[in-house]
Amino acid sequence: MGAAGHYAVPRRQDNMPSHDELRPGGDAARVSPMTARFGQNTDAAGTSLQTHMTSTLLAVIARILSGASVRWIDSQPDTCQRVYFANHTSHLDAIVLWSSLPQRVRALTRPVAAKDYWEKGGVRRYMARTFNALLIDRTDIKVHQSPVDLMLREIGTEQSLIVFPEGSRNTESEIQDFKSGLYYLAKKRPDLELVPVHIDNLNRVLPRGEFLPVPLLSLVTFGPPIWLENGEAKTDFLERARKSVRRLKDL
């Protein structure tokens, strides 16, 4: 686990722990998450401490910039394994959602993001590493290496995920149909709590295609977790999940 601090970037295959180590019940499952992230090597720990401070700093900036208030409705912050799924309208969604979580939950939670976008350019790559993002290759999906399997391997039995099931940022006012990844996550790991999150007004802070933010006020609402019901069909589940996010907008 020497330089495990870098394992968030799948590109650097040489530094990643083998997948076996991260499989539930594997060695990594017994390592505390902080050790898993920061590693024992002092050098790596130094860089990771810096990463940790940078991520905290960026989270604070994102919170101030987005003026985000956070509500938990019939739901509580918890370090148990969860999948936070939210509507997607802005590049700031992931960081604002992530920074809305309490520190100890945040340390265990990884945003899922598109590899083709977040590996372009040094700044993006640095950001992805800072937030311990789990990068998924949208262009190169193979049968034996499905994104859902990759996500489940990466999170082991400790970490949680932030996903945006609409697939890409939405410019319409209504939430788009969800992609099926959430269903397969729920099916393969029925123990994961699926927490709906609604993000309001962030599309006006940083709309699609803009790079300068306008510091308006936004609202992040966490709802009660849902699970895949016994025998529930894929489309029914995905529609129910979409509605569980949509519902939070009007509360």
């Binding site: 003026g67 208030s69 956070v70 509500r71 007004n201 006006r204 709309p207 803009e210 300068l212 933010p213 306008v214 510091p215 308006l216 006020l217 936004s218 609202l219």
Partner: protein, 320 residues
């Protein structure tokens, strides 16, 4: 060190606040008095806002010039937050994004920078930056974005937000830079007097309305604002203003007149912001900010009263 008048003014206000806080806390702890708990909470929230305002203004009085800068900075943040609330609740389109960016990052700080410098030569720039330059910039920038749908309406909304939340409010800290004969170094006290009268008038109009209110002025806009409350509030605020003349450069009659004008403007501000809120279908500007009353709800009357108070003082009492 501030003079005896200033000290007694601040001391008096602190005493009143202390009593009000005690009453508020006691009401909160005994729910069986028969008063609506929401009303008690609103009261306590208002008291807290008062403590904050009072601390800032008293700081300005005690510290002198460095605190003048601090006061301007505090008002800048209040303006900035109020503008956030205003624009957040006002629908804008993607085409307004760049114009809004400059409104927040250029015009708002620049306005307060000019106020903060407090140089007499800049007073013209201070009074035209937003009503002229921002006024012209906003529609031009929105037009360049290429979206003409409801153009005039969108532009007007941004202009109104900037005027009310930034331009009008910036007149309050500008009071600190007024040069008034025989009133050297006491402008902080005058600012204190102004904010005190505006806020007291808010409370008094509410109180008189509860006691005697019968004729509602505009039920569709605000069911709690009555002619009785309005007249009672203005009259009693004027009396308090006259009683506090010793802290100002005014005679008792002048102080009463100033307090009356400020009260009427404060009422106008509350009425206008209520109308905007009704149109947007919200209870208050703080709805998006859970657990806080909106900043804009607290300062709407100050925004409307500040320019008038500043100009009257400047033209009739100050050297220009």
């Amino acid at each position: 060190m501030p003079d005896r008048e200033t000290l007694s003014l601040i001391g008096g206000v602190l005493a009143i606040l202390f009593v009000a806080t005690t009453i508020g806390q006691r009401l909160k702890r005994s729910p069986d008095v028969g008063i609506n708990p929401a009303l008690v909470d609103a009261f306590n929230l208002r008291i807290r806002a008062w403590w904050m305002m009072c601390t800032v203004l008293a700081g300005a009085v005690f510290l002198g010039p460095p605190a003048r800068v601090a006061t301007v900075v505090v008002f800048f943040f209040i303006s900035f937050w109020a503008l956030r609330e205003f624009i957040t609740l006002t629908p804008t389109r993607l085409g307004d994004h760049r114009a809004l960016f400059w409104v927040f990052t250029a015009f708002t700080p620049l306005q307060y920078l000019i106020v903060g410098l407090g140089v007499e030569e800049y007073s013209l720039l201070f009074s035209v930056l937003i009503p002229v330059y921002a006024f012209l910039f906003i529609p031009a920038r929105v037009a360049m974005a290429g979206d003409y749908k409801r153009f005039l309406e969108r532009v007007a909304k941004i202009q109104a937000g900037l005027m009310i939340c930034v331009y009008c409010l910036s007149y309050a800290p500008a009071i600190l830079s007024l040069k008034i004969p025989d009133y050297d170094g006491q402008t902080a006290t005058l600012l204190f007097f102004f904010v005190l009268i505006v806020q007291l008038n808010d409370v008094l109009q509410f109180a008189w309305g509860k006691l005697l209110g019968r004729t509602v002025i505009a039920p569709a806009i605000s069911p709690s604002r009555t002619w009785e409350g309005f007249i009672g509030g203005v009259a009693s605020a004027s009396l308090i203003g006259a009683a506090l003349f010793w802290a100002t450069p005014f005679t008792p009659w002048q102080a009463a007149g100033m307090a009356a004008v400020v009260s009427v403007m404060g009422f106008a501000g509350g009425m206008t912001m209520s109308a905007i809120k009704r149109d947007r279908g919200v209870q208050d500007y703080g709805t998006l900010v859970v657990g806080h009353g909106g900043v804009l709800d607290r300062i709407d009357s100050v925004c409307f009263a500040a320019p008038v108070f500043y100009h009257l003082t400047r033209y009739f009492f100050a050297l220009s």
